[in-house]
């Protein structure tokens, strides 16, 4: 399925049809006053590319473990908020 180009008015009127086109593997370009302004595309690809970008950046976290990140953040929070058990 290819790229479908529609005007803002067509997009607003036929959103369900456009979503079906996206579900079938297509992409939709939406124009305003003749110029392309937005793309309607599949969500699954967005999630996968977000994961890829996260993993690429995670190289910058080399040398760190949960202890210096998650556990430390929790410690910061809990040392102020969890009272000692009553005796």
């Amino acid at each position: 399925m290819g790229v479908l180009t529609v005007s803002t008015k067509e997009a607003a009127r036929g959103l369900s049809r456009l979503l079906r086109a996206v579900a079938a593997g297509g992409e939709v370009v939406i124009t305003a006053r003749g110029r392309p302004v937005a793309v309607l595309g599949p969500y699954a690809g967005l999630r996968r590319s977000a994961v890829s970008r996260l993993l690429a950046r995670s190289a910058r976290l080399r040398g760190l473990t949960l202890r210096e990140t998650y556990t430390e953040a929790r410690r910061d929070l809990e040392k102020r908020s969890v009272p000692k058990a009553r005796s």
């Binding site: 999630r47 994961v51 910058r60 998650y70 953040a73 929790r74």
Partner: protein, 143 residues
Amino acid sequence: MSQRLVLDASTIVAALLPDEPVHGAALTWLERYAAGDLEVLAPTILPYELASSLFAAERRTSRLAPADVDAMLTDLEYLNIELLPVAPTLAVTVARRCGCSPYDAVYLALAEQQKVDVVTADRKLHAAVAPKCRRLQWVEDSP
């Protein structure tokens, strides 16, 4: 239908830490979610726990710039993990029963409410709470 479960903040953070001992197991959960093979839920506290973990990392290493943290938090939002509220009274009830903090209990309470398991990479939490909460699963135990 794909499996539905709660991933806690430690699991998601571990998936982003190449040198964390349970990184590989945590990454497998995240990749299964990316592939659409898993439905992930979390309590509404999750994004703030991820933010404070990455902020702690930013303070620890100069390799991680503020712009990297912002970009990672945006990408974590793009994951669109389904965030659900948990009543504070329920969190406290579970905290009393399981002997953990209300912050941990929020995840356990959500898992009980939704009748799904919760995966953690927090070794201390798992050791302390797993005997009292059968829904708590260790990150390295495959489903």
